[in-house]
């Protein structure tokens, strides 16, 4: 099993999904893939399809309209899957937590493996979060308990 774990930790592919955020975290997440920060150094690839992804990076407080889709995307991802909440909105709903159309926080809908607070987090901070998540993948362990 250690070989599998090693392979997983060496090339986790990311699916990015915006659940109603302001776009600030999205451009910073995208900036992390461009030459200056280049997370592809860790074997990470930005993927468009949930079927190929290992990590779901969620930005934004979850709006009612987008909730069903978020769950559907999560269900389409193959096991083991990990969720990264990028930005304060995705962590807790931050300034939108009392709005009528916002559920507030990804962890109300999905189990979250790592939180990256910041409004928006710097690309370095996102890399920090990804690296911490990779450490978690290396240690293994979280794949079975989820619903």
């Amino acid at each position: 099993m250690s070989l599998l774990k090693w392979i997983r930790a060496k090339s986790p592919w990311i699916l990015h999904f915006n659940t109603g955020g302001c776009n600030g975290c999205d451009i910073e997440l995208l900036a992390a893939f461009t030459p200056r920060f280049d997370v592809e150094r860790f074997g990470i690839l930005l993927q468009g399809s949930p079927r190929h992804a290992d990590i779901l990076a969620v930005t934004g407080p979850v709006t009612l309209q987008v909730r069903e889709r978020l769950i559907r995307i999560y269900e389409q991802m193959p096991e083991p899957k990990y969720v990264l909440a990028v930005g304060s909105c995705a962590c807790s709903g931050a300034p939108f937590k009392d709005c009528y159309n916002v559920i507030g926080g990804v962890d109300k809908v999905l189990p979250v493996d790592a939180y990256v607070p910041g409004c928006p987090p710097k690309p370095e901070a996102i890399i920090d979060g990804i690296v911490k998540l990779i450490q978690k993948i290396e240690e293994g362990g979280t794949c079975e308990k989820r619903r």
Partner: protein
């Protein structure tokens, strides 16, 4: 050529600004789009209602988080509306700093958009170079404001931070670099066959339609209509800073690219002028806690076009009604007009053409009306597919 059967292609839904995550339902005859219906609201968070619950100071930060890319435009518009209600004016130095930050933001937003646009036509080398050079302007913004995206520079009655003499040389150096690079990119855009083939005469919006459908910003200016809030309804220090309004007569996606490149160069000159002529003095005036009853309309030229805020106050510490209309919403009727008669393959680039902060439009469902079969495709593989088709047709 008509194939006699109309296929419906839902497109979307993912898109970030205030109320503008778009979902489009395309009706397609063969490969030609015959009709399109927008359905927006995936990112609707109810911000307008939330404004009524927060104090005027807290609302600055809420306004900032309407959109991450034009965050400074929203706060400028908000603070101007409140200053209008209070009857106070921001001090001259604050107004110059507002212009500088707004123009830096325009550079950052336009180069971001240009990157996304060339990415949509499959030119990723260009995209990577653009985004690498965009980091120069992000660094200046971080240096001035302390954050890369949400600058939090504006406050009611002025700005919160000064542009100190130590950082001015750094800004000038980055501007020189950006100017050189932008000129190079303009040259490259004009000479690249890939870009020309995919963008010239694609997504045409005639000037008459543009005015009739109330398009705004670079979309309108690329149709040859000279209209810019900075020039027509000057705010901050725009009445003291000379600049040209960039227009182009091409009316297609390519001329939208050229207009935005031209605006980057124009912004660089404006920042240089503003840095040279910045008056000294205080940064902000104090505001009272409560705002007297009244109403105000404030307009700002955001990177994507005219942004309008309306505020109604009832004399307490919270606004009674706050209304935001962001530029992408204004461009959607024009966008729908652009699609008619175009090829399916051009959907991504036309949609990107109005700059709807495109980063996360990533799911599609195909429904074949005849067989009623559903096929799911993510955005990337859709782009891939249409790229292949398009190349095939060109060959």
């Amino acid at each position: 050529m008509s194939y006699g059967s109309i296929v419906k292609v839902p497109f979307g839904p993912q898109h970030p600004a205030l109320k503008e995550p778009e979902h489009f339902l395309f009706e397609i005859d063969g490969e030609i789009i015959v009709n399109v219906k927008p359905r927006i609201g995936y990112n609707h968070r109810g911000i307008e209602k939330a404004f009524e619950r927060r104090t005027y100071i807290q609302n600055i930060y809420l306004a900032e988080r309407i959109c991450g890319i034009c965050s400074d435009a929203h706060t400028t518009c908000y603070t101007q509306a409140i200053e209008d209600l209070l009857g106070l004016d921001a001090p001259p130095r604050a107004r110059y700093i507002r212009v500088i930050v707004a123009e830096l933001e325009r550079i950052h937003s336009h180069s971001l958009w240009l990157g996304i646009a060339v990415h949509e036509i499959g030119f990723d080398t260009f995209f990577m170079y653009l985004w690498r050079d965009r980091e120069a302007v992000m660094d200046i913004l971080e240096l001035i404001s302390g954050n890369r995206v949400h600058y939090a520079m504006n406050t009611i009655g002025g700005v919160r931070r000064d542009i100190t003499p130590e950082i001015i040389p750094k800004i000038i150096r980055s501007l020189d670099f950006l100017e050189k690079r932008t000129k190079y990119y303009m040259k490259a855009l004009r000479s690249e066959r890939t870009v020309l083939k995919r963008t010239v005469d694609v997504g045409v919006l005639k000037p008459k339609d543009a005015v009739e459908l109330c398009a705004v910003g670079p979309t309108l200016r690329a149709s040859g209509v000279k209209n810019d809030v900075r020039g027509d309804d000057p705010y901050a220090a725009y009445d003291e800073i000379p600049f040209n309004i960039v227009t182009d007569d091409g009316c297609d996606v390519f001329s939208r690219m050229l207009v935005r490149c031209g605006e980057i160069l124009e912004s660089i000159n404006m920042i240089r002028y503003a840095l040279d002529h910045m008056p000294s003095g205080m940064l902000r005036v104090r505001m009272p806690m409560a705002v007297k009853p009244g109403e105000a309309v404030s307009r700002v030229e955001a990177p994507r076009g005219e942004l309008i805020h309306y505020v109604k106050s009832n004399g307490s510490t919270r606004p009674e009604r706050y209304k935001v209309r962001s530029p992408t919403l204004a461009n959607i009727p024009a966008l729908c007009r652009m699609f008619i008669g175009q090829h399916v393959a051009d959907i991504p680039i036309i949609l990107a053409g109005i700059d709807p902060c495109f980063a996360c439009m990533d799911r599609l469902v195909f429904i074949d009306v005849k067989t009623n079969k559903r096929k799911s495709l993510d955005f990337e593989s859709f782009s891939e597919m249409v790229r292949k088709q398009r190349n095939f047709r060109l060959a």
